[in-house]
């Protein structure tokens, strides 16, 4: 039989590939059903909900203070910000004035937590792309932040530190000096990370121009945070709708240009530097004083609907409270940035090689605890 065409020799057909739910590159329990033809992805369908615990429903039977430990378990790599987002919404609803020292401690802990979260991104993203060493460097520094939090509030991941009206404890003696020493050291580490990874030719080839999307696409899918800023759209709630005391510090919002994996990576690195700047200024400005405002023992939010969003590590993190005047919310809706950010995945995965799939998923930086909620 004479061969007429090359396609007769290599017979290819579409294949359905299951990535996950337990796969090291999916950063949690997340499944993708990918239809591939050879090396190219034709269709990708994310399957979520493996980590669904019904937090929103559970919250309906809990007092506002009791919900705080549950928020720790949403985005478990930046629990301080989750804590803050909930207490901030309740405080807005009640109109409580927060003591100055509490606000400073909150900003310091939130920015340190953002730093720890971005360090996880830096480590695991490079691990996804096949580089083992940066992960170890990133976790060495993250461990220091986590240890400081452990000393401050008694837990390493699930802090349960913020309270309605302030924070649970004042800082232990010597803690702020420890943070100061860490910030100074971390600045040197940032240079190290840049030398180690940012100029690496293999890394550049893997991420430049991969996983591109436009500002319109990002806005259309409700993306926020770095995933939106990487397209050049200036939207940071810390600047646009200032909350807490972020207007007292001098810092910038780093912006991307092309909306590809490279921009998302470099924005994480630049945001870490900005967080260090904020912590440094907060350490200079912090004054002694009370850390908890006078709040009633049983907190009753007046009937009505309240929403407030903060700039979480992954985007706009908001709590929407519907209250009927009781000590428990009638309904609590959580705007989880990772959940919204993941929605663009089927579109940007279409037509890319299988090898880039992990690079794209990792660059969106989802935390599955937050996606499943």
């Amino acid at each position: 039989m004479a061969l007429t065409d090359e396609t007769d020799v290599v017979r290819t057909e579409e294949m359905l590939l299951n990535v996950g739910p337990q796969h090291p590159s999916t950063h949690g329990v997340f499944r993708m059903v990918v239809k591939i033809s050879g090396e190219t992805i034709l269709e990708a369908e994310p399957v979520i909900g493996y980590l669904h615990r019904g937090t929103e429903k559970l919250a309906e039977n809990l007092q506002y203070t009791q919900i705080i430990p549950y928020t720790d378990r949403l985005d478990y790599v930046s629990a301080m910000l989750n804590n803050y987002s909930l207490v901030h919404t309740v405080e807005e609803a009640l109109g409580i004035a927060i003591p100055d020292r509490a606000e400073y401690i909150r900003v310091i802990t939130m920015e340190l937590n953002r730093l720890a979260s971005h360090l996880i991104f830096f480590g695991t993203y490079l691990l996804d792309l096949g580089a083992m060493t940066p992960f170890l460097y990133a976790f060495e520094e993250r461990e220091k932040i986590i240890d400081m939090f452990n000393e401050l509030c008694g837990a390493r991941i699930t802090f349960n530190y913020m309270r309605i009206g302030g924070v649970k404890y004042d800082t232990p003696p010597g803690w702020l000096e420890q943070v100061d020493a860490f910030v100074k050291r971390m600045k040197g580490e940032m240079v190290k990370y840049r030398n180690l990874v940012t100029g690496n030719e293999i890394f550049l080839a893997r991420v430049r121009g991969v996983g591109k999307y436009t500002t319109e696409q990002a806005l259309g899918h409700g993306m926020s945070g770095i995933n939106l800023r990487c397209t050049g759209y200036n939207w940071d709630l810390r600047k646009k709708k200032p909350y807490s005391i972020y207007d007292r510090f001098d810092w910038e919002v780093p912006l991307g240009k092309n909306g590809d994996c490279w921009d998302r990576y470099i924005l994480h690195m630049e945001e870490m530097e900005q967080s260090l700047r904020i912590v440094e200024q907060a350490l200079q400005q912090i004054q002694p004083g009370p850390v908890l405002a006078k709040v009633p023992k049983l907190i009753r939010v007046p009937a009505g609907e309240y929403y407030s969003g903060i700039e979480g590590t992954r985007g706009e993190l908001g709590f929407y409270i519907v209250s009927d005047g009781k000590d428990k919310p009638y309904r609590l809706k959580i705007r989880r940035p990772s959940f919204e950010n993941l929605q663009i995945l089927p579109i940007i995965l279409k037509g890319v090689p299988v090898g880039d799939m992990v690079a794209i998923l990792g660059s969106i930086d989802p935390v599955l605890g937050e996606v499943g909620a």
Binding site: N150, L152, T158, N160, G199
Partner: protein, 150 residues
């Protein structure tokens, strides 16, 4: 090529650095004073006010008490189901007499679920153990003492 060499330079510069890994089962970590491990309980201090059981988000605390000959409430049973306890420490926060506290016990994995039901006896023993390990740590000030101080 230059980027490669820069990265290699970082790796080489790390070689003389000290190791940071703690070889866990052989070396135990040193936990800070505020660390939230499994509870410890001091029965004499408890006034059976039930606040800890009410604030618990997962309802893992159950307790009962009775009046003694002086008509004073005394604790009779105090159980924590550490299977569902999330170690949020809200119970220690509301306790007016600091009868329930957190310890630095953290290795409580078990093959049997029954081991995770901690009764008053276990919790009091944990308190004695904690005191033995940390004789220098001060007993926290109670809410009653704080009010008297004001």
């Amino acid at each position: 090529m230059f980027g490669f060499l820069k990265g290699l330079g970082v790796t080489i510069s790390q070689l003389p650095k000290k190791k940071v890994t703690l070889m866990y089962p052989d070396e135990k970590p040193e936990w800070p004073e505020r660390f939230r491990g499994v509870h410890r309980f001091i029965p004499e201090l408890c006034t059976v006010c039930n606040q800890c059981a009410r604030i618990c988000p997962t309802s893992c605390i159950s307790l009962s008490g009775a009046r003694d000959e002086n008509r004073k409430l005394r604790i009779e049973t105090y159980d924590i189901n550490s299977d569902i306890c999330i170690l949020c420490s809200l119970c220690t926060e509301v306790c007016p007499t600091e009868a329930i506290l957190m310890s630095d016990t953290f290795e409580n994995a078990s093959y049997v679920r029954d081991d995770l039901y901690l009764d008053m006896h276990w919790l009091y023993n944990n308190e004695l153990e904690y005191e033995r390990r940390h004789p220098d740590r001060a007993i926290p000030e109670t809410d009653v003492q704080k009010k008297a101080g004001d």
